[in-house]
Symmetry: C2
Subunit: 189 residues, 2 copies
DNA sequence: GTACTAACCAAGCAAGCGCTAGTGTAACCG
DNA sequence: CGGTTACACTAGCGCTTGCTTGGTTAGTAC
C-alpha cells in the first residue's frame, strides 16, 4: 500500500528481526525498539503486525523479480547462458537481500489469506520466469527430464542454499551457478 | 528420554498440530485438546513445551536414518542403485512421516541449545550417509562436480519436495528418484 | 496566526500464554 | 490390607501479547 521511505526503512529493520527470532517470537515491542520508537507508534505506519510481514516479503520478492529480468536482458541468448544468469541472479539476491528472502521462505505460512493471495502472484511471476528458462534449456537438449520436475528440483537446490551458503566464504554466486549447471547439463548447447 | 507407547502417540498428534499451526502458535491447550486431555496433564508426559518439539523431531530423524540404512542394505551394490535407493527412501520417509519432517525443517530454530545439540548429531549421521553415497557416485563417474556442493544441491532438491509433492498424486517416490538421478547423471555406471 | 498533517508517546486493556500446585482415582504389588 | 505408581483433573498465578486510546510536538500551507 504505502511506500514512504520511512516505511521502507522500518521494513528493512523488521526483516532483520524476523530472521533472528522468527515472526511469532518477534514482539511489537522488540520491533519498535529496533526502530527507535515506542510500540504504539508502530501502528501509525502499519495496520497490524501481519502487515509488516507482508511488507517484508513483498520487498524481497519484487527485488528478485527485477534483478532476474535485468540479468536475462544482459546475458547471451544461448540457453546455457540464460540458465546460468538466472541461477546467479537468484544467488546474488539471496545474498544482497538475504533477510527478506529467508523470511519469505520460512514465514510464508504466517501470512493471512489475503496477503498470501496477493504475494503468491508475485512469486508465480518469478517461478514462471524460471520455467521459461528451463523449457529453453530442455528444448536445446542442454538438460534432460520432465519440465515440471526439473524446475522444482533446481529451485529446491537453489533455495536450500540459504541454509548453508556463506557469501563471506570462498565461493562466489557465479561459481555456484557454474557448479549447478555443470551438475545437470548433458549436451553442450 | 522416555519412550512409552503413550508418549509416542502423543508425539505423533503434536506433530500434526505443529505442521498446521507452527510451533509458536500451537498452545499447550490446543495440544491437550487434540490429545483428549487437559492442559495440565500434558506436563506429566513432557517437562515443557520444547520437549514435545524435540520429541517430534527426534522421532522423524531416527526413522529416516533407519529407513535409509535398510534401503541401502537391500539394494544392488552399484553406485547408481545406491543413489536411487537413498533418494527413494528419503521421499518415502517424507511421505510416511511427513509431519515430523516438516516440523524438523521449519521449526528447527525453536529448539533450545541442548536439544539442538543432541539432535544435530542424528542429522549429521543422516547427512554423512548421503555424502558417502554421493562420493561413490562421483568416483564411479556417474555424476560430476564438487562433492560438497553436489550433496547440498541434491538434499536441497529433495527437501524442497515437502513444498509441492503430493503423495496422493500420480507420481510415486520411485519415479521421482528416477527423474532426479536422470537429471544429474552423466555416465552410465 | 490559524489550520492541517505526519510522527510519535504514555498508559493501559483484554485476552491469552506456559506452567504449577494440589487433589482424585484406578491399577497393580507386597 | 496398605503403599506405590501412572495418569488425569481443577483452578489459577504471574506474565506477555497485540493493539487502542487520547494527547503532544514539529513542520508546512496559506
Amino acid at each position: 500500500m504505502n511506500a514512504s521511505p520511512r516505511r521502507k526503512e522500518l521494513t528493512r529493520q523488521a526483516a532483520q528481526l524476523f530472521v533472528q527470532e522468527g515472526f511469532d517470537r518477534t514482539t511489537v515491542r522488540m520491533l519498535a525498539q529496533e526502530m527507535g520508537i515506542k510500540s504504539g507508534s508502530l501502528f501509525h505506519h502499519f495496520r497490524d503486525k501481519q502487515e509488516i510481514l507482508a511488507a517484508v516479503i513483498e520487498e524481497g520478492t519484487q527485488n528478485a523479480l527485477v534483478i532476474a529480468h535485468r540479468a536475462l536482458e544482459k546475458c547471451d541468448n544461448s540457453p546455457g547462458a540464460r540458465f546460468h544468469a538466472m541461477a546467479r541472479a537468484h544467488l546474488e539476491t539471496l545474498h544482497a537481500d538475504r533477510n527478506a528472502h529467508v523470511v519469505a521462505l520460512y514465514e510464508w505460512r504466517r501470512l493471512d489469506v489475503e496477503a498470501r493471495d496477493h504475494l503468491s502472484h508475485l512469486r508465480d511471476a518469478y517461478e514462471a520466469l524460471w520455467q521459461q528458462v528451463i523449457d529453453e534449456a530442455l528444448e536445446a537438449g542442454l538438460i534432460h527430464g520432465d519440465r515440471f520436475l526439473v524446475a522444482r528440483f533446481v529451485m529446491g537446490a537453489l533455495n536450500w542454499t540459504v541454509r548453508w551458503y556463506d557469501p563471506q566464504g570462498p565461493r562466489t554466486p557465479d561459481e555456484l551457478a557454474d557448479e549447478l549447471l555443470a551438475m545437470i547439463r548433458h549436451g553442450s548447447a
